[in-house]
Amino acid sequence: MTQETDSKNLKQEIIEKYQEFLLLEGKSPASVYAFCKDLEISEAEFYQHFSDFDQIAAHFWLSILEATQERLQSSPEWESFSAREKLLSFYYGFFESLKGHRSYALLILKSVNMASPRGAEELKELKSGYKDMVKELVAEGQQNNEIASRSKLNDIYDDLFWMQFLFLLDYWRKDRSAGFERSDEAIEKSVNLSFDLIEKNALDSAFDFGKFMFQNR
């Protein structure tokens, strides 16, 4: 029991120490060795929790995602929200929490190439956590007919939303408006656009009609 708490405390300590180092120095420590020496722990202890510095950054994003989800789900209104409202609430909550760690987030994002973040280790955990959430939302939306089921497209909905999330992250990174109001607008508009596109609309009827004409020539 005590050992577990100790280990949890150590993990927290590593995270905080690394964050502080990055914020003050503007770059990662020279090596895990140097970092551990500073912290007066053994390298083995470090590797028990993280395999690299990237992992610490990755953990930061995931923790914000999870905290946001937890907070939203505890609200009494959450269950009655549509998929669109749930995603909007998530974005607003996520970026609100991020506000408190903006400097740190910007430093991490600095090393990420937003145009092709495919290999970004730092965002990997966030990506999988986010995608799990979106998959659930899409499934839910399809069940209550909010989102159109479009055979092949279904499989890439989560990828499309991930691109949207990256776009918003990048937008927020560059946003200089007071209170980040512009980011709020970007969230509102991009989510509405995406949901307008994936809900049942004229495209589906056009496709359906085309299929009918083709089959009954």
Binding site: E85, L88, S89, E96, S177, D184, E185, E188, K189, N192
Partner: protein, 438 residues
């Protein structure tokens, strides 16, 4: 209503929408002129109707300042052909709403609480649209409340929106660039004020207090504790909007009484307070069967500078044009005439303004005025044609008339228009008489 069907997110997209409208209007003109060539006849009303439809479709997809400009233009009945104004009048009631999560976020930002933690009941959907925000209905204890929530980023987008509106509006409405600049600078100032809910709260409280003695007027109470920069909470007002109220067929006496209340309200603001609720479009009033009128939305207040006020009402005196010297000097003072004008221009504009002023001032000249009089309004609408077809006005390089007059004219146009819809007979003798006699 579906929330935010289509939003044109970036400025580029919105500009694109406008340009498309410009192109469409251009196409309408093309159709019009080719028809004229082929058949040798033209139908101006048809053309304007087609233009109005396209313009409206474009504008109704925008919001914020662009919608506001549409509203403004729709109020300036004298400036616009009737076909436009009918279309624009529709824009006054609806704009696409904000999502509920964004409303929650706004509450979190200012009160660190969700709407439902502050109020016992809060409508998730907006119940009405305001030009730069939307209204939710809430309950707390015995209080029935209206909560106005402003769109984020409105203040930032105003000047860029207006810049983008400028060239296209100019082309669409056949107004010279100089005139538009003249107009938009003043509009921008008022719009910026409208985004400040603190200011609206303060002004609402003051005007309500000052005008409390006018019988038949009702004002909402404001609640500073539930208000912030982008949230404004006030009493929910009962009553019907003008169109719905007229459907109940109120009798002539009720109509006269209601019209008189509105007239007195404006008369008192203009001549005593010297600041006026400059947004008298029907959406800002609520009517009750007992003949009382509720006034909502104090976002747009025009303060009348004393010098301007005096000259403006001096020049409205009946038969002022007969006193040639004074008329001319007032025209120069008010910038209807410019020092750079040629003799020919001076004579021409003098005649035009004598007509216009005589027409607009007519309700003041008599003891009682019947706003049901259709012919009077046709004359006013006819002004648009005078302006549009007058080569000298269209060629003029500078905008004319004091910029302070834009909102006062708009107020009177709006007021006249509402009284006309009400078909009310009004005792128009007012404080302005003393000025006339002086």
């Amino acid at each position: 209503m579906k929330e935010q069907d289509k939003i044109y997110s970036s400025r580029a997209q919105r500009t694109g929408k406008f340009l498309k409208t410009g192109a469409k209007v251009g196409a309408n003109y093309l159709k019009h002129y080719s028809k004229k060539l082929v058949t040798g006849e033209s139908n101006d009303a048809e053309l304007q109707e087609a233009n109005a439809n396209d313009v409206y479709d474009a504008l109704s997809n925008l919001k914020g300042s662009a919608l506001k400009v549409a509203q403004m233009l729709s109020m300036d009945q004298g400036l616009l052909p009737q076909a436009y104004t009918q279309k624009f009048a529709q824009a006054q009631y609806s704009a696409p709403p904000l999502s509920y999560p964004l409303v929650v976020k706004t509450f979190q930002q200012y009160f660190s609480k969700n709407p439902l933690e502050i109020f016992e009941d809060f409508s998730r959907q907006s119940v009405a649209a305001a030009s730069i925000g939307q209204v939710h209905r809430a309950k707390k204890g015995d209080l029935d409340l209206a909560v106005k929530v402003q769109y984020p980023g409105v203040a930032n987008s105003i000047s860029s929106d207006l810049k983008m509106v400028r060239p296209v509006v100019g082309a669409m409405f056949n107004i010279s660039q100089a005139e538009i600049n003249h107009y938009l600078a003043e509009v921008e100032g008022r719009l910026m004020e409208e985004t400040d809910y603190h200011l609206e709260l303060e002004r609402g409280l003051r005007i309500c207090k000052e005008c409390a003695h006018i019988e038949g007027l009702k004002f909402p109470q404001y609640y500073p504790e539930y208000s912030a920069e982008r949230v404004l909470t006030m009493d929910w007002m009962s009553g019907l909007h003008l169109d719905k109220f007229l459907e109940t067929n109120p009798d002539q006496e009720t109509r006269n009484r209601i019209g008189q209340v509105i007239w007195d309200f404006y008369d008192y603001q203009i001549h005593h307070l010297k600041e006026v609720h400059a947004d008298p479009h029907p959406g800002n009033f609520l009517f009750e069967a007992d003949g009382s009128v509720g006034v909502i939305d104090f976002g747009c207040i025009k303060v009348l500078p004393p010098k301007f006020y005096e000259r403006y009402f001096q020049i409205m005196r009946p038969a002022i044009e007969q006193d040639k010297e004074e008329f001319l000097s007032l025209l120069y003072d008010l910038e209807f005439l410019l020092k750079s004008d040629s003799q020919e221009e001076v004579e021409h504009f003098q005649a035009v303004y004598a007509d216009v002023l005589g027409l607009l001032g007519r309700p003041f000249f008599e003891e009682e005025f019947d706003f049901a009089d259709k012919s009077y309004f046709e004359e006013i609408y006819g002004l648009a044609d005078v302006y549009q077809n007058d080569k000298m006005i269209r060629k003029a390089k500078a905008g004319r008339g004091p910029k302070d007059a834009i909102y006062l004219n708009r107020t009177y146009f709006g007021l006249y228009n509402m009284l006309h819809l009400l078909k009310a007979k009004i005792k128009t003798r007012s404080a302005v008489d003393q000025l006339f006699l002086a």
